[in-house]
């Protein structure tokens, strides 16, 4: 497969991503992707053999891309509160950018295809994020910024709230101020008593 083919494959994946964003996972057919890419039926089968395969490769692409959007803009002397707030703001943006995310498609996919818990990407992501937040809270406690008796619990609590907001957004819809209220509550419950 030549260089040109690789380009085309990438083009198909990027176009297919848009389709998945728009229609979720289950509703998407080869025809949808063929039409979005403006290629022929047979042409698509030259590169991929099923929507499932395409979706998996889209996910792979996705996970390669959004590796380090975050690490960049943390100044070295930022307080734990600052960082936590930055993280939560980032999550808020992600949540509300609903029209550009694969969230629903990913849920649909995992409804059907549940990998062993051990190597479930969703679980890994969750655990990693929780670990990061935990460290963050621990730092904050050490510096006297936060009060918290169970940093791990608090971190997991935050993660579950974020999960809750995410699914709520997909089924009911959320407004920015709903997210703000949750963020506020989280920060307040970590704040030291005067």
């Amino acid at each position: 497969m030549g260089e040109k083919s690789i380009q085309k494959k990438k083009y198909i994946l990027e176009t297919a991503r848009k389709v998945f964003v728009e229609k979720g996972y289950k509703k998407v057919t080869m025809k949808d992707i063929v039409e979005a890419c403006d290629i022929s039926r047979g042409g698509l089968y030259l590169y991929f053999e099923s929507t499932a395969q395409i979706f998996m490769e889209v996910l792979k692409m996705e996970s390669q891309e959004d590796d380090d959007v975050f690490g960049d803009r943390i100044s070295p002397d930022a307080s734990a509160t600052d960082i936590l707030l930055l993280f939560l703001k980032e999550q808020k943006k992600e949540l509300l950018r609903k029209n550009n995310t694969l969230t629903q498609a990913i849920y649909e996919y995992y409804f059907e295809n549940r990998p062993a818990k051990k190597d479930n990407p969703l679980k890994k992501q969750f655990d990693m994020a929780a670990k990061v937040i935990e460290k963050l809270i621990e730092d904050g406690v050490r510096d006297g910024e936060f009060y918290c008796e169970d940093c791990e619990g608090a971190a997991r609590n935050i993660m579950f709230v974020l999960e809750g907001l995410k699914i709520f957004n997909q089924t009911v819809g959320i407004t920015p101020d709903m997210v703000d209220r949750e963020i506020l509550f989280i920060l307040q419950s970590l704040s030291v008593e005067e």
Copy 2:
């Protein structure tokens, strides 16, 4: 439609429910239901005209049934902690009884059919439950059992955690002790400082 027909309709709905529990929403076809009910294709169409309609009626049936499973067993002199704990235990049971719930099907349905936020049943349920918890926490605070500066926030926080656990369970799977840890954390964060 005679009495017998009504019986049969109910029978179909109950059987269809099992199918939805097993396969979710989108995957279910009329054929699946026909076979589960052991009736003929045409026969089913006599009662319902689409899987969507059947699903909606299943949901209606569901919501009529689980009205007051809870209110019953609260003794009049139970403390707020007791009641909250009972509520959370109930939620835990519900969560882990995954193999008998329509959770995934409901999510799939609302991915496709998002009603206006105003009359979205999911939102209503959420808000109502949050209100109940809020009152509960307020009672606890008044009696000196709980410490909480933002009862509404705390209530919503609990609800979002439960939502998070729910979707997590459908996509990754949870274990009883994961739920226990969350319940413990919630109770601890409401506990009065000594």
